[in-house]
């Protein structure tokens, strides 16, 4: 894109009418349609009632190209308040066009406005695509080690 030309991609807050496209994007990435889950996420993160929660979409010519969701969490794991990105998705057919970068920048701007200076996420280590994306955006290993255990019945 040349300098000064209008950027066709616009990042804005999610609207209820975006939900079908978000469900489609997620299904295209994960291979699973989860309409009830996304309705609940919209209720929890997309109403704007809690300013610490952000649910943004990237729109191009009326089509939702991607979404990002996150929130500022206070003193989680004993750490000072920081922004957590817990979901980001871009239509597979429009990747490598900077949409993910725009979404991440927008949510980071939101976090900054809320007064935090750190953004974090947690990712599956067997998903190099999303790991590479966050690495390309400058994220480095955080001072945590995620642990888990099977629960005996």
């Amino acid at each position: 894109m040349t300098r000064g030309s209008p950027d066709p991609v616009r990042v804005r807050g999610v609207q209820p009418r975006d939900l079908p496209e978000i469900i489609d994007i997620d299904a295209g990435i994960t291979g699973m349609r989860k309409p009830e889950y996304w309705s609940e996420i919209l209720q929890r993160y997309g109403t704007g009632r809690r300013r610490q929660r952000l649910f943004l979409v990237a729109e191009d010519s009326g089509r939702v190209e991607g979404f990002v969701i996150g929130e500022v969490r206070d003193w989680e794991f004993g750490m000072p308040p920081c922004g957590w990105v817990f979901a980001i998705g871009v239509r597979p057919d429009t990747r490598q066009a900077g949409t993910g970068t725009r979404l991440l920048e927008a949510i980071c701007d939101g976090f900054r406005r809320l007064g935090v200076t750190k953004v974090r996420t947690i990712l599956a280590r067997d998903n190099p695509l999303i790991l590479s994306f966050f690495r390309s955006q400058g994220l480095m290993a955080a001072p945590f080690i995620p642990l888990e255990r099977d629960l005996a019945p």
């Binding site: 690495r135 390309s136 400058g138």
Partner: protein, 146 residues
């Protein structure tokens, strides 16, 4: 995880090439810059060439030119050309023993348990190498320069 000299020389080289796309560089130039043996580096560059990451340029002032995709090529892609790090560690995937257990741990059990811990560390290292492309490494270099 400790990387061998060849692997490090390969990583230095591909980063040097990726930072100068289109430019041809000789083994001697890179060897001088990173203080490695030119003879050694020539072998490393041949391996990178055979893997399709570089193409050799013949004639006066010949050398190599980068043909990889810096946004796609990861550190792991380069490391795997020189090291066998995909194999699971010994003991890491051993099935649990059957039959009555002795009072204390046997040397084999201790070795197995340690294998599990070391395999965990290896998996994190591999995931890290798989997630960092050459383009990301170059950005990291730039960020650390500021």
């Amino acid at each position: 995880m400790k990387l061998q000299k060849n692997t490090l020389a390969a990583i230095y080289s591909v980063l040097e090439f990726a930072a100068n796309p289109g430019r041809q560089l000789s083994a001697a130039e890179i060897a001088r810059q990173y203080r490695v043996s030119p003879h050694h580096l020539a072998k490393v560059l041949r391996t990178l060439g055979r893997a399709g990451l570089l193409e050799s340029v013949r004639g006066v002032g010949g050398g190599y030119r980068f043909t990889g995709n810096a946004k796609r090529l990861t550190l792991m892609d380069v490391i795997e050309l020189f090291e066998n790090i995909s194999a699971p560690r010994r003991g890491a995937r051993r099935p649990p023993r059957r039959g009555p257990l002795p009072a204390g741990p046997s040397p084999q059990e201790v070795e197995d348990a340690l294998g599990v811990v070391l395999a965990e560390i290896d998996e994190i290292s591999k995931a890290t190498f798989r997630s960092i492309t050459l383009a990301t490494m170059l950005k990291l270099v730039t960020r650390r320069r500021k």
